[in-house]
């Protein structure tokens, strides 16, 4: 049910109309009401709900950790994007690779990292995904194929394209998924990489999470083509848009594109229309946001929506849902306890990771140390 860039009919009434669409009749929400639960087994659907609830609780606790000064730096949350995150990650095999931006806690968990290790990274502890060296924006785990969250807007896109080059070079059957935000499609690296991936036929799926905002800037303010999936056309790449609030639809679309890339090596672009429920980062009060828009984001709540869908479809009953919620609450409590109990890095380890091949005369000087 996704719109594709190759279709002749425009996907919505006009290129600048998304704001209106969202607060008015809302095409995206209409479709959400009709969503079939697809052919997924009840067990799979319940697991989607569990994962989405887990990410929701995790992010709420991350925000709390920030106010308690357990978490520092920048902290960007996936609140409102849980259906997109879980749908996308369900389309990947463990051996597939993932590159993301800095809003990646949920992806790290859904790709298979223990929540405790993700929380420990936020807490800056040695047990974290990047040993506490990366922080919120820089999760990494080769075991599950997460090749990095990246804090520089667009930085992940050429890297993901290069990972796909390596797969193609070696003749592997893995696929790379490259996640990014709507605002990121305006940076040069996006266009350069899309062109290269299409030109060289590389197995990478570029996924744009369109939450309509890059900090305080709307898609309409920043993108001349505001129907972002159409940007693929310029590179003769397949592009399509999916309702990011619909976990089943996201899984279906992403799964199809990922498997196509696996078979043919062809790249594709998927735009998942989603919502950012809170500010850009934990400290942003988002005063620039219109009341309708903030309300629409609250109403669209993918976790609550999916919960009631599952209940009305008889996949879950109230008790079953509550039980899942208790279980994920316990998981998050355990993650926090794990993080809290983990050691801070020892300052003596400061120079341990500057070079992969140790250098004999590497500077290991602290600020007060003389050169000689």
């Amino acid at each position: 049910m996704a719109e594709t860039a190759t279709r002749s009919k425009p996907a919505s009434s006009g290129s600048k109309s998304r704001r209106g669409t969202r607060s008015g009749g809302n095409r995206v929400q209409q479709r959400q009401g009709n969503t079939a639960l697809g052919s997924e087994s009840q067990e799979t659907l319940r697991d989607y709900f569990r994962q989405m609830s887990l990410i929701r609780r995790f992010e709420e606790r991350a925000a709390q950790g920030y106010t308690q000064a357990k978490v520092g730096g920048y902290c960007h949350l996936n609140l409102g994007e849980e259906a997109t995150v879980v749908g996308l990650m369900s389309a990947l095999r463990r051996s597939d690779y993932l590159f993301t931006n800095y809003r990646e806690h949920g992806y790290a968990i859904a790709k298979g990292i223990e929540p405790g290790r993700v929380m420990a990274e936020l807490y800056g502890r040695t047990t974290g995904t990047s040993k506490g060296l990366g922080g919120s924006m820089h999760m990494f785990d080769t075991e599950v194929g997460l090749l990095g969250g990246y804090g520089i807007v667009g930085g992940q896109i050429p890297l993901a394209t290069g990972a796909a080059l390596a797969i193609d070079y070696r003749g592997g059957d893995e696929v790379v998924m490259c996640q990014m935000g709507d605002g990121t499609t305006n940076i040069g690296a996006f266009h350069e990489s899309m062109n290269i991936a299409a030109l060289w036929n590389l197995p990478v799926v570029f996924v744009v999470i369109n939450n309509y905002l890059g900090m305080g800037t709307t898609v309409d303010m920043s993108s001349a083509e505001s129907e972002l999936y159409k940007r693929a056309v310029a590179y003769r790449m397949h592009g399509e848009r999916v309702d990011g609030n619909d976990v089943v639809a996201v899984q279906e679309a992403a799964g199809r594109l990922v498997e196509h890339a696996r078979k043919t090596g062809e790249p594709a672009m998927l735009e998942a229309v989603s919502h950012r429920m809170k500010g850009h980062s934990v400290v942003d009060p988002a005063k620039y946001r219109s009341a309708e828009d903030a309300e629409a984001a609250r109403e669209a709540d993918p976790v609550a929506t999916f919960r009631s869908q599952l209940i009305s479809a008889g996949v879950l009953d109230e008790d079953g849902a509550a039980e899942i919620e208790r279980a994920v609450q316990a998981d998050v409590d355990a993650a926090v306890a794990f993080a809290d109990d983990s050691p801070h890095p020892d300052p003596a380890t400061l120079f341990d990771y500057t070079y992969a091949t140790p250098v004999a005369n590497d500077s290991r000087r602290l600020p007060a140390d003389p050169v000689f």
Binding site: G72, G135, G151, V153, M215, H344, R365, P367, F372
Partner: protein, 330 residues
């Protein structure tokens, strides 16, 4: 004379300059609707409108280059680069274009513009968001690089940068935005390329810029309580570099410690130390010391970040050790 923050001084000066010259306009990410990532431009969109306060897509190379082009036609763009880390995406437009327009075309055109951007670590923002890479720009002939450390300097140097006919990289610092100081409203623009002697002393010279210039004055004040008379030089401008003021001070004190937030090897301090060696070699009673950041991609975890960054304590230690070394010789 009002006591205001560094942030307020920047804001007020931008506003004044916009009022007095309609060719001055602001361009950058999140400077309008969002009111600036660090709120320097708060309220200016409302007052001046979208033509004068232009929010851009996330496209550093594109909008910095657009500012260069606009400057070539006589506008006076003030670009805000959210942090100096993101200036790297515009490096080509700054180094290969803005810096070359005047010289490469034999002086027929120039690119008078101000690139405002904060550097600085210490906020647990990790390796890519905490860098002090002003040196990349200070290395380039054709660019000017200024680095105010106080609200008064922020005002005087911003005025000077806007009056200048060359591209000026105007270095701010995350840790300075909330610092306060007296700002005389009628002070003239600063002279770009002139260092300031912010403490007069005779025992030792401490040289810093941006955040470390303020740390240097703190350390000098601590030491003066113990009877040490330290002279502090705030470079204010990295290119052009005021070698005369440095050398004159070291000829008087006979020793120097350089305080810099960037990395030591090939850093700004290396150029200063070389200049001291060029101009005051015969006067030195101890090796010139540099206090700089540990040479690592800056870790997120607080204990590691703290260990890696220079501070008043590390500067104080280096100054004491230098004075001891001098004592052994004099």
């Amino acid at each position: 004379m009002a006591v205001i923050t560094y942030r307020q001084a920047l804001h007020d000066t931008l506003r004044e300059e916009m009022l007095s010259d309609e060719n001055v306009f602001l361009i950058g990410e999140e400077i309008g609707v969002f009111e600036g990532s660090y709120k320097i431009t708060a309220g200016l969109l409302e007052e001046f409108g979208e033509k004068r306060v232009r929010d851009t897509p996330i496209a550093e190379e594109g909008f910095v280059g657009a500012a260069v082009g606009a400057a070539m036609l006589g506008l006076r763009p003030v670009v805000e680069l959210m942090t100096i880390n993101f200036s790297l995406l515009a490096l080509d437009q700054i180094v290969n274009h803005a810096a070359k327009i005047y010289g490469m075309f034999g002086g027929q055109s120039s690119a008078p513009m101000v690139l405002r951007t904060p550097g600085g670590g210490g906020q647990q923002l990790g390796a890519t968001h905490s860098q002090n890479i002003e040196l990349y720009y200070a290395f380039v002939p054709g660019l000017k690089v200024v680095a105010p450390s106080t609200p008064a300097d922020a005002r005087a140097l911003l005025k000077a940068s806007l009056a200048d006919n060359d591209p000026v990289l105007f270095l701010e610092n995350l840790a300075l935005y909330n610092t306060k100081g007296e700002v005389p409203e009628d002070a003239p623009p600063a002279e770009i390329g002139k260092a300031g002697v912010t403490r007069v002393g005779s025992d030792i010279t401490i040289i810093g810029y941006s955040r470390m210039a303020t740390v240097a004055t703190q350390v000098a004040d601590q030491l003066s309580e113990e009877g040490v008379s330290a002279e502090v030089i705030d470079l204010r401008s990295l290119r052009p570099l005021d070698r005369e003021t440095l050398v004159e001070s070291v000829r008087k004190t006979g020793c120097a410690v350089i305080a810099e937030d960037d990395w030591l090897t090939y850093g700004v301090g290396a150029e200063i130390a070389a200049s001291i060696s060029d101009g005051a070699f015969d006067y030195l009673d101890a090796p010139v010391r540099r206090v700089a950041a540990a040479e690592v991609p800056l870790p997120y975890a607080k204990p590691l970040e703290r260990a890696a960054l220079p501070s008043a304590e590390s500067l104080n230690t280096a100054v004491r050790q230098t004075l001891e070394a001098v004592g052994h010789r004099r």
